[in-house]
């Protein structure tokens, strides 16, 4: 696998240093590269902190900035960050109004963030994201995974935090957005973690992995490759079934690339998904299309539908300035 790297042992450090340099106007890297944080904090605002394994850029470091996160903790590639990272981030960005952690539902992320929350001697709470409908939520599984929907929660909660909402309100809001958001993905290829040197799973030239997650982990079903329309029908169908929307419902549509699929194809998927939404009487009133929650260079995409109400949509529209997304300022 050809990659733009120097050495596997330094790739994360070099990537973070490059990121910090490219966005030094709004961000700064914490000591020891434990976290990325906004340069300027708003006193008295709840501090919004997320994080997770690297390799999903721009998630989460690319979402640090006005209207979204205050800090993000990057772990090793596809590996949860450690509690000391979250403690250092909290120490750095808490301005006295408490800390809200946004955590994707994976056992590693949950354990590390929970340990950090326990060790924190300041007020904190946590929003857990589990928007992936591909995996069932039952007593015998770890529950549903947190995937591309994480972006939407970080945006809405970030916007509300900017307006001065308190910790309890933000926690409730985050949980609401999580509940009305559903996603499902497909992989056309695997990806290669630099230190591993080979793809995380094998997939034939004529196959796709339905229900894939964002760590290069195999999904639920391996099937023969299908058309964009058929894939859109499968993914959107499952997402809509989970959300049980009424006709006339307004939604945000995120067609997210996993890193290895060109924008050109993502727009084909938007087109296909639109026809399905129209058939279901669902109205996509906001769009985000691009590679935002990636899995290194994995080819494929996920469809995320979020049934936001008008107050959430107004928060969505509010000013935002992060490395990856900017509007209104």
């Amino acid at each position: 696998m050809k990659k733009l790297i120097n050495h596997v042992d330094s790739v994360l450090a070099e990537s973070l240093d490059g990121f910090a340099a490219a966005h030094s106007d709004i961000l700064t890297l914490g000591a020891g590269r434990q976290f990325v944080r906004r340069r300027t904090l708003k006193q008295g605002k709840v501090a919004l902190i997320s994080g997770g394994g690297s390799g999903h850029e721009p998630l989460h470091i690319g979402f640090v900035g006005h209207g979204m996160l205050d800090a993000a903790c990057p772990g090793q590639i596809f590996t949860s960050p450690t509690p000391d990272q979250m403690l250092a981030a909290a120490e750095s960005v808490d301005t006295g109004a408490g800390v809200l952690f946004v955590v994707k539902n994976y056992s590693g992320d949950m354990m590390n963030f929970q340990m950090a929350a326990e060790m924190l001697d300041r007020e904190s709470d946590m929003v857990v994201i589990n928007d992936d409908v591909a995996v069932e939520n039952s007593t015998y599984t770890t529950g549903r995974r947190g995937v591309a929907g994480t972006l939407l929660v970080e945006r809405i909660v970030g916007a509300a935090a900017e307006l001065g909402e308190g910790l309890a309100h933000l926690k409730a809001l985050g949980d609401s957005v999580n509940r009305c958001t559903a996603s499902m993905g497909v992989a056309l290829s695997s990806c290669t973690v630099p230190a591993a040197g080979q793809p995380t799973f094998q997939i034939a030239a004529d196959e796709m992995e339905l229900g894939v997650g964002i760590h290069g982990e195999p999904g639920r079903r391996r099937v023969k490759m299908a058309s964009a329309d058929d894939i859109a029908a499968e993914l959107t169908g499952n997402v809509l079934k989970d959300l049980s929307l009424k006709r006339g419902q307004e939604v945000v549509l995120l067609v997210n690339g996993f890193g290895g699929t060109p924008l050109h194809e993502l727009y084909v998927m938007v087109n296909a998904v639109h026809r399905i939404l129209e058939g279901a009487g669902v109205n996509a009133v906001r769009h985000l299309t691009g590679s935002y929650v990636t899995s290194l260079e994995m080819a494929g995409c996920s469809i995320t539908v979020s049934a936001m109400d008008s107050s959430m949509l107004s928060l969505w529209d509010s000013p935002l300035h992060t490395a990856a997304l900017r509007w209104g300022i």
């Binding site: 772990g75 090793q76 590996t79 509690p83 354990m111 340990m115 230190a195 995380t200 290069g216 982990e217």
Partner: protein
Amino acid sequence: MTHKALIQAATQALIDHADELTELDRAIGDGDHGLNMRRGAQAIQAQIDQLDGPSLNDSLRSMGMICMSSIGGSSGPVFGTLLITLAKELPTRPSSDDLARAVGAGIKALTRLGKAEVGQKTLLDVLDPVRRVLEQGGAGLGGRVRQCALDSANATAHIEATRGRASFLRERARGHIDPGSRSMALIIGAICDTL
């Protein structure tokens, strides 16, 4: 016997088998277990002289903290919590009974932390059988513990995953050894061989 030799052996086993562990994790996870454990093992080896001086309990606690801050993923909190629990529960010169009790406490702490139980294809499926062998005590204990750890890790291949990343694969995870269990068996094996 200083604990330096034990620490060296256990960490070296993880470093030597990093590729194997990564391969196991690639089959049913995201392929980073071997890399994560090697990073933790190297971080511990880098401080091995400082870890040799203090009491067993202090060493275990320090190693737990190193695991917590260097491994990441699920393995960091899991191995970190196990070591910290052992540090709390063990007397300075533990008998096999003391070890059995401490391992039992470790299993409880891990069950609370990861919400996993014995029988769900995690390293608890190595720790619990090992605890029972320690409880029995008797002759040739080191060899029996070593064999138990090895056999239990191999036996995880027959369990359907219900926890962690492998749980997303359900039936497809059958036939694959749990990487965390294999790590646990390697550590226990190295310690038994050195003692």
